[in-house]
């Protein structure tokens, strides 16, 4: 008993204790629900068996049913567009801003801090603001596009099936851009200045320096930010709830919103769980890429 106590205060026991708390928490709060979710996707769940743990096992039936539904493929397609367009927009604009602030003009640090406002705002609030901006009748975006002559008539962003998904994408790009900018700024500032001086003396112009020094030196940061972006966009739920609710007619529906809709509005927990499992596979893939890209961050 005494040895155990001294091990906890001075020895390995303390290390184990420190690790045990977060691991225990993660297992309890994330691990168990995740496993339960996987289990549910192989069971038949209805209104009467919701409270029980051991429900009739149906094998892959839920998966077969899911892919037999007419809306599944369009929603998966929407999810793909949402993820690719959001990440591309967030990354390109974030990188552009990071490079812009990297020139370190007077007030750059201060202004960069202000950009973080978009990131600290709750998704529902961002959604509410973009509802105004995107509004078909009096929205400021329509006003700008109309006055500059890009469009002739108003676009009903949230209710036109051709635009509803893009309405959420625009808001999501705005929401995630600042996070991209901050991480990329950190990556940029980690590149030693004398590398650029050496490259300049070696005859490289600004574009060549960007291409041969900045981009390769940023490889691990870019890998990390894109895999994090994949994880974050697959988690993006608030904006759909606030802006389009997945409509009209599923035209802006994506898997993460649909899973919630199936489970908690239609009480089809089995199908909701099945979609979640499919998403878990994608997120796991992104996590592996993320972990692998941060592993190479040590430079020498």
């Amino acid at each position: 008993m005494k040895r155990l106590l001294s091990s906890i205060t001075d020895g390995k026991g303390f290390d184990i204790l420190l690790v045990a708390f977060p691991l225990g928490y993660l297992f309890l709060m994330s691990g168990l629900p995740l496993l339960y979710n996987v289990l549910m996707s192989f069971q038949e769940v209805d209104m009467f068996s919701r409270g029980s743990f051991w429900r009739p096992f149906v094998g892959l039936k839920n998966y077969r049913d899911l892919f037999a539904m007419p809306e599944t493929l369009p929603i998966l397609y929407n999810t793909g567009i949402f993820v690719v367009a959001s990440i591309a927009g967030q990354f390109l604009l974030g990188f552009g801003l990071a490079l812009f602030f990297w020139t370190n003009f007077p007030g750059a640090t201060w202004l960069r801090g202000l950009f973080l406002v978009s990131w600290v705002m709750p998704g529902l609030v961002v959604g509410a603001i973009w509802n105004w901006i995107l509004s078909g009748d009096f929205g400021v975006l329509n006003f700008l596009l109309r006055e500059t002559g890009i469009i002739d008539g108003n676009i009903f962003w949230r209710s036109d099936p051709d635009f509803s998904l893009w309405a959420v994408i625009i808001a999501n790009i705005w929401l995630g851009m600042a996070f991209n900018m901050i991480l990329l700024s950190v990556g940029l500032s980690a590149i030693p200045k004398d590398l650029y001086e050496a490259a300049e003396l070696d005859g490289a112009n600004a574009f060549q320096r960007f291409w041969t020094i900045t981009l390769p030196m940023m490889r691990s940061t870019i890998g990390a930010i894109i895999s994090l972006g994949l994880i974050f966009t697959l988690q993006q739920f608030d904006l759909f709830a606030a802006i389009t609710s997945g409509g009209p007619n599923n035209s802006s529906n994506v898997t993460q919103y649909w899973a919630w809709d199936l489970s908690f509005r239609q009480y089809d927990f089995a199908k909701g769980a099945t979609i979640s499992v499919i998403m878990i596979i994608f997120v796991m893939f992104a996590s592996v890429v993320y972990v692998r890209s941060t592993r190479h961050e040590v430079r020498g």
């Binding site: 030693p192 004398d194 590398l195 001086e197 050496a198 490259a199 300049e200 003396l201 070696d202 005859g203 490289a204 112009n205 060549q208 041969t212 020094i213 390769p216 030196m217 490889r219 430079r299 020498g300």
Partner: protein, 354 residues
Amino acid sequence: MTLQIELSGVNKYYGAFHALKNIDLAIEKGTFVALVGPSGCGKSTLLRSLAGLESISTGDLRIAGDLMTTVPPRKRDVAMVFQTYALYPHMTVEQNLTYSLRIRGASKAAMKKAAADVAATTGLSDLLGRYPRELSGGQRQRVAMSRAIIRNPKAFLFDEPLSNLDAALRVHMRKEIRMLHDRLGATSVYVTHDQIEAMTMADHVVVMRDGIIEQQGRPLDLYDRPANKFVAGFIGSPAMNFIPATVGSDGFSLVTHVGEPQTIVLDRALDPGRSVVAGLRPEHLTVVDGGGMFRFPVGIVETTGSATYISTATTPEITIVDTARRSIRTGDVIELTIRPSDVHVFDTKTGMRL
């Protein structure tokens, strides 16, 4: 001789700070020039201005006869070796060496051959496939130099390239850089705060302080005839002793003001009664057994084997380098002598050589 680098009336301001003050410097083709001085003296700023990494506020810079004052660094055709080496960490040694050629669109075969040729002369042939992080400090240093050599530039600029190496390697690389310079027939400008590096490597030493050139010339000229007290104290190791003194009534002697008044004989006449500073190099002071010019009590004795460093118990302290292995101990009184031609005299106020 043609001038390879020419600076005339160069000034550099950082806001209100005047970093380079009216620098005039002419560097002949094929010479090895050392810029030396304490930190903050402007030597690095001057070098970076040559490279184009800093802009010159006023004045002209010519490289190989062409006006380069406002030309961007990449068009100046000068190569620089950085203190940190600045190797591209994501490229192999070979890619590091051929970077400048790649930028200019050289063919793969030409780059491979150039890298192999340079690597052979600098002993990097076995390391071409490695990354900088897999190299030792000395090897990185060689890569940095090879990267400069491969371009065959109009001038090589070195920014304290040896300060990250250990003492033994530094002495070795010193010789290696000088040999490379001679073999390539290059023009080199070398910044260092180490006067020994400057003296041993350079044909022409430029001593700087507070943005001005205090003195420039051949290393031994600077040692033999320092223009002022600053250069006298900076060049030579251990540093020159400075003793407050007054010129004697005959004009051919100095009366020192350390401890008891004592007399040093001069080989030239100065104004009698003038207040001056005598500069005596530790290696020029000789301990004698009688008939010395002056006597001092001994403070600390340090033996290195080849020489004995004797510090006197006076204020200011006087250092003597003795190579004769005398048994001198703390508390002894020693007699010293110095050849009149080895006595440097400086004005007390201006510090200029008299």
